[in-house]
């Protein structure tokens, strides 16, 4: 994109322009370099080394990646974690975001009472500490003393209860849903704000055109907040592939049962810091972190080039 050259900067002495650039861009460049670029580069560099038992490091090129993807001892848990992570993401996309959109749509309807109350209540879990959320749900769903089984029994659905967090088949989805419960407030708030931005007259015009609130939502409001929805999707993607804390607080670093809830974050944690009998391996950990970075980068690129370009923001 060719930006028009400003006459002010074009006529400015070079030294003055440089000083100006330094003044405005300098702080951001320093902070980004220090806290984002340097750690990233250092991690990538570390991933090309290996350390022997004495702790001395030696350059091995891409050998760590070969081990990670080729050696069954490493690749099996890696692919397991990646697969689980994808499921984790899909559950968020299919539950968290649609529910967030629906809640935002309901909140933006005319004449809803106690709007502020609902908004706050639904956003509240997002502000809770993950440890509290994990611990609470652990207790709620516990087959021994949890309220879930009793609550289901009370409405005659007792037979549906299962120790969801303990079953290999359901643990991951259960954890995903707990995460959805906690973070549904974020898509709700972002989309609610976008919905409020749609001018009232546009909705009036649709009403005059004979649309009910349901159709107005699907034909007018939803297409107009698509940019926000896609933004929410990207945020979800990045957050999900960096997720760690909920799994760790509910299931520990071993992400049981039998690694059924192991995602890239927990896999990285065990690799880098070690766990129980497994020794910490910083260079392999750096390799895992680098792969995670590239997975997220790939996802973002796909989004930027395939989705973002086709989405148009509407000025009202």
């Amino acid at each position: 994109m060719a930006e028009p050259v400003s006459h002010v900067t074009a006529q400015m002495p070079r030294a003055k322009l440089a000083g100006l650039l330094l003044f405005f861009l300098g702080p951001a460049v320093v902070i980004y370099t220090l806290f984002s670029i340097y750690p990233l580069v250092a991690t990538m560099a570390l991933s090309t080394y290996t350390s022997d038992t004495s702790g001395a490091r030696s350059f091995v090129g891409l050998a760590n990646f070969q081990t990670l993807l080729g050696d069954a001892l490493w690749s099996k848990p890696f692919w397991n974690a990646l697969g689980n992570n994808l499921i984790f993401f899909v559950v968020h996309m299919c539950v968290q975001n649609p529910v967030g959109i629906a809640l935002a749509g309901l909140l933006s309807l005319p004449g809803v009472r106690l709007k502020g109350f609902y908004r706050t209540v639904m956003f509240l879990p997002t502000m809770l500490s993950v440890v509290i959320v994990g611990f609470s749900w652990n207790l709620i769903l516990s087959p021994l003393w949890g309220v879930a089984s009793g609550a289901l029994k009370a409405v005659g659905l007792g037979s549906l209860f299962a120790p969801w967090l303990g079953l290999e088949s359901s643990a991951l989805v259960t954890l995903s849903l707990i995460s959805v419960w906690q973070f549904v407030g974020i898509p709700m708030m972002l989309i609610y704000a976008a919905l409020l931005n749609i001018p009232e007259e546009l909705i009036d015009a649709a009403r005059v055109d004979g649309l009910g609130q349901f159709r107005i939502f699907f034909h007018i409001k939803l297409p107009l907040v698509l940019p926000t929805i896609s933004l929410v999707s990207v945020l979800t993607f990045v957050a999900n592939f960096n997720a760690f804390d909920l799994i760790y607080s509910v299931k520990g670093a071993l992400a049981g049962p039998n690694f059924a809830t192991d995602i890239l974050g927990t896999f990285f944690y065990r690799t880098f810091f070690g766990n129980q009998l497994q020794l910490g391996n910083p260079t392999m950990g750096a390799a895992v972190a680098t792969v995670m970075f590239f997975i997220i980068l790939l996802g973002l690129c796909l989004y930027l080039f395939l989705v973002q370009r086709r989405i148009r923001r509407y000025a009202f």
Binding site: P199, R207, G210
Partner: protein, 362 residues
């Protein structure tokens, strides 16, 4: 096309009354303009006719049918909004046909109506474009087109020209007038611009503080305002008002005196000695002279030259200001004392409650 009648319409938000017992009857094919200062309730009234706002009391009939509980789309109305309110994610054609899809108009009929409206509004070239690629005037035409394809009984316009620049406003105004001539449809049009009201309306409804002040033909409102509010609202610059009192009555005629003008002699059956009055004269009806039915003096403080006329701002004897229009190239100089007169049909008299007093000056 249809008539529209509004009976005892009220609108309250909590303790605030926005519309107070509004009664209005609009004939088939009539172009009615609702005009008034901001906050007078004219837009609320329009939205209630449209069905976008509910009434707190009263009835609205469109084409003889009670529409109080009907949804906007069932009322046989179409509305053009101030911001045009085009759907930004649909092209012009889709904007126009979108509503028809949901009211069960078959595709071939939709196409026919769009083609016809596009021809009428010169939109043929623009049908595939998106609103963002259109100028303000074009968007406004699309908004009108979207209203036309609905083939409504009544068109509702909510300040449709206020987002356009001055030149475009004039040409679009002419276009709307032509459209009304062509479609012969019933139109209710809200504006705060009295020029739009005067030029477009068959009848003007002047509103103030949620009440209708006067309903009448444009020139009737101008020449015979029913009360002080209408007298002051219609006309620009506004009518000059002079405080006055009935000094004596002789043979059905009243001598009216005031601090700032020479004694006036009016016929008035209803007046009594001592009645407080307001005498109104429009700036454009004041001419320089020695003595007329109405005569006032003032010291020129400021002259605004517009070209076709100039406005002189004069200080009256009682210290207040009044305005006179001066034609021609010779304008009075600031500081000059000028005597201005007005002919008897141009002198308006209002009683203490602000209502017009039927008079004839000699």
């Amino acid at each position: 096309m249809a008539n529209l009648s509004i009976e005892h319409l009220n609108k309250r938000y909590g303790a605030t009354t926005v519309l107070n017992d509004v009664n209005l009857s609009i004939e088939d094919g009539e172009f009615v303009v609702l005009v008034g200062p901001s906050g007078c309730g004219k837009s609320t009234l329009l939205r209630m006719i449209a069905g976008l706002d509910g009434a707190s009391g009263g009835d609205i009939h469109i084409a003889g049918k009670l529409v109080n509980t009907l949804a906007p789309a069932e009322r046989g109305i179409a509305m053009v909004f101030q911001s045009y309110a085009l759907y930004p994610h649909m092209n012009v054609r889709k904007n126009m046909t979108f509503g028809l899809k949901f009211t069960g108009v078959p595709p071939t009929e939709r196409e026919r109506r769009v083609t016809e409206a596009a021809r009428m509004l010169r939109l043929e070239e623009l049908l595939e474009r998106y609103p963002r690629d259109l100028s303000g005037g074009q968007r406004q035409r699309v908004a009108i087109g979207r209203a036309i394809v609905r083939e409504p009984e009544v068109f509702l316009f909510d300040e449709p020209l206020s987002n356009l620049d001055a030149a475009l406003r004039v040409s679009t105004r002419v276009e709307i007038a032509n459209l009304h001539r062509l479609l012969k449809s019933t139109i209710v049009y809200v504006t705060h611009d009295q020029v739009e009201a005067m030029t477009l309306a068959d009848r003007i409804v002047v509103m103030n503080k949620g009440c209708i002040e006067q309903v009448g033909k444009p020139l009737d409102l101008y020449y015979e305002p029913a009360n002080l509010f209408v007298a002051g609202f219609i006309g620009s610059p506004a009518m000059n008002f002079f405080e006055a009192e009935v000094e004596g009555i002789e043979g059905g005629r009243a001598r009216v005196t005031g601090a700032a003008f020479r004694t006036l002699d009016i016929s008035a059956a209803s007046l009594k000695v001592g009645d407080r009055l307001t005498v109104g004269v429009r700036p454009e009806h004041l001419v320089r002279g020695e003595a007329g039915a109405f005569t006032a003096e003032g010291i020129v403080e400021l002259v605004e030259r517009l070209g076709e006329a100039s406005f002189a701002y004069l200080r009256r004897v009682d210290g207040k200001m009044f305005v006179a229009e001066v034609r021609g190239r010779q304008t009075p100089a600031p500081g000059e004392t000028v005597t201005l007169v007005a002919a008897s049909p141009d002198v308006h008299v209002f009683d203490a409650s602000g209502l017009r007093v039927a008079t004839e000056t000699r």
